[in-house]
């Protein structure tokens, strides 16, 4: 399972792809089990350079019966910093957030390479 | 005739004609004024000059401007290459040409030349620009004149802040 994510140009916020638009909550994101559909969405996303920066697909795993990003880094993006539980998307709470918080033991950098070039 | 942005003595920028043809090492020489690599200049420069052409030399960032010193009086243009705009070696080359070797010919910026570099380039002594971003002479002037003050003495002879402050 995959989801499509990026940072929004205007404010840098972490966003997820949903039916051609961008949403802020991971819980609202489109989940792709068809790799072809995922790549097609990524292609479309890349043609929105004034909306988002550097869209990319992330791998998901199951947690608490829901889906969560496989990589630790992506979970931090979907949640917010661990030192400020009231900052970022985690502040809202709810089922999906709980599932993300409980996911563990996976790859940090899945799907992301050449990090130094991105800064 | 292709064009270039040129800096004039009054610090204005205009679109000027470029009579030179840039010729790669593996290309045959067209008639007229040419810009060639330093290696080719060493091999063929004397002959070309003897033909009465104006000759320019293109220096890559790794080529030391000192090597040109002896020939400078005969060279009409030194084209300093920016293979990537982040490669800042040509700024040093330009300054040395102007300030150390008192080169009075044209110093041209070629390669990935963007308006964001305009201010730095002019300060280092470049006076002709082949922008890669489609910038107009107006864009160039805007970028160059943006800063009312400069802190350093450089090749453009702008008054640095420390002199300005003395009322000088």
């Amino acid at each position: 399972m995959k989801a499509l994510t990026a940072n929004r140009l205007i404010d840098g916020d972490v966003v997820f792809w949903k039916a051609g638009k961008w949403v802020e909550r991971f819980g609202d994101a489109d989940l792709f089990d068809d790799p072809g559909a995922a790549e097609a969405a990524e292609g479309q996303a890349k043609s929105q350079p004034t909306v988002v920066i550097d869209p990319y697909l992330i791998d998901l795993m199951e947690s608490d019966g829901l889906w969560a990003p496989l990589s630790y880094r992506e979970r931090i993006r979907a949640l917010g910093p661990t030192n400020h539980p009231s900052h970022g998307k985690q502040a809202e709470g709810g089922e999906v957030i709980e599932a993300l918080l409980h996911a563990d033991g996976a790859a940090r950098s899945s799907g992301r390479v050449n990090l130094i070039k991105r800064k | 005739m292709p064009t270039l942005i040129r800096r004039q003595d009054d610090d204005q920028f205009i679109l000027g004609d470029d009579p030179f043809t840039a010729v790669a090492d593996d290309e045959g020489l067209p008639p007229g004024d040419v810009i060639i690599s330093f290696a080719r200049f060493q091999a063929e420069g004397d002959r070309l000059l003897a033909e009465g052409r104006a000759v320019g030399v293109r220096l890559e960032p790794a080529e030391e401007v000192e090597a040109l010193a002896y020939d400078l009086p005969r060279i009409a243009v030194v084209a300093l290459a920016f293979p990537k705009y982040r490669d800042g070696r040509a700024y040093t080359a330009a300054r040395l040409l102007r300030q150390r070797f008192a080169y009075a010919g044209e110093v041209r910026a070629v390669g990935e030349v963007l308006r964001e570099q305009a201010g730095f380039m002019v300060r280092c002594g470049f006076d002709a620009f082949a922008p890669a971003d489609g910038a107009s002479p107006q864009d160039w002037a805007h970028a160059v004149h943006r800063h009312r003050h400069v802190y350093q003495r450089a090749a453009d002879l702008r008054t640095p802040a420390y002199v300005e402050r003395e009322g000088g």
Partner: protein
Amino acid sequence: MYQYDAVDQEFVADRAREFREQVARRLSGELSEDQFKTLRLMNGLYLQLHAYMLRIAIPYGSLNARQMRRLAHIGRTYDRGYGHFTTRQNLQFHWIKLRDAPDILDQLAEVDMHAIQTSGNCIRNVTSDPYAGATAEELDDPRVWSEAIRQWSSLHPEFSFLPRKFKIAITAAPNDRTAAKVHDIGLMIRRGRDGQLGFEVIVGGGLGRTPYVGPTIAEFLPANRLFSYLEAILRVYNRHGRRDNIYKARIKILVAALGAEEFARQVAEEWAKIGPEGDLPDTELARIRGAFATTVFEALPATSEVFETAKAADPALARFARNNLRPHKKPGYTIVEVSLKTIGDTPGDATSDQMDVIADLAERYGQDDIRVTHEQNLVLPHVRLDDVPEVFAQLQATGLASANVNLISDIIACPGLDYCALANARAIPVAQQIAQTFADPDRAEAIGELKIKISGCINACGHHHVGHIGILGVDKKGEEFYQLTLGGSGAEDAAVGKMLGPALPYDKVAAAIDTLVEVYLRERHEGERFLDTYRRTGVEPFKEAVYADAH
């Protein structure tokens, strides 16, 4: 502190205007992200995990109350009510929106601040001694030279596209509080035999992937020849530094490849060609010196009865005095370090409310002067001893009275994986766990000076190589692991730490630090710091204990 004149103000305002145009061109699509990235980085604007991060320059770590209040205001208005002081004496906001960035730069310009050259391959903000102008140790005020370097390096026509970033530190005191020996250039002010002022010039130190303590290339450079010499160093570097490999592009690699002697020779050769043309006239240095608002000190007795009485009555104040006060050059005054390492909080963070309190204190009790240390604390450099009890009370009220400066809970940590797009592992929660482990202030004092420094990746923003104990986050098959190093120092006895052994998992780090400390307490001789004991015993006893525990 230095007062901007119209030239400085207009310079910063012009730059802010330029950035506003660039943002507009990006939003309209005229600039691609690739092109824009370099431009935003030149103004300290990064894209991190959750938002943009804006790094604001605090030149040589010096600011006044008005500036601190403005930072507080920006934190409140455009961020989440706080900011993060960095190991280069700057301030970072972590929740910035691109659309707000031009307004923020305008707001900064109004109080003579900017974000120029806080990123990019240029000469970065100059680091200097946070006790400058207050300590009796110094030979000259390093801020004068720092400010002159700030101006000289601002939009330098020749040196704004270097092979890699370039950091200069300058100190005038034998106790080095700037980590000068691990900077690209470290300048140590010296006095020659004839009384003349000069610099020892150290080039090619650095951290990151290949840490080096820099070699000295000039024992004594006459002070008035500084700028031509800097120009020579930068020119040799700009021409010959590697540009083919980002990991080999810092000047330290060039110096190491050529050897310090050959590098020094090339610099000397270039310097001779530049000549005094390249120097700043004495008149300008004198003007800069004069533009530092004069600090007027009262004639006071060396001891303060008010302070002594309060101290005797309040053990908390006594503890604060032991750990957070430093001798001032004038009798009756003291340097107050304000720890941003409250146990359980994020190292280096201050809320907007706390910034306002610091600004008030600086204004009322501290000659309107505030400093940031590279160890991520704040300093009120000129406080009357008489006022210390009041300052302490107000710090207590705002949660900034931790009496732990230089102690084991005074930990440097970079933002790590909680914020940084480059991180391998978190740094902040590790610091928090260690601080909790040593929350008992008596134990912390018994342990004494112990510098722990944590980086979330090999870029080493947390200076882990020069921690007495260094901690580096690594990614081991996708999990957070931490590599421990011992014996580093960023001070005058600079050294790069040595690796202890295999990396430890996240939940074992604090316990391992506890073990290291126990070994030290067992092995130490009278008067030895952790670092001294380690240097005497070597790594073995520490290694044995940690990895015996791990099994």
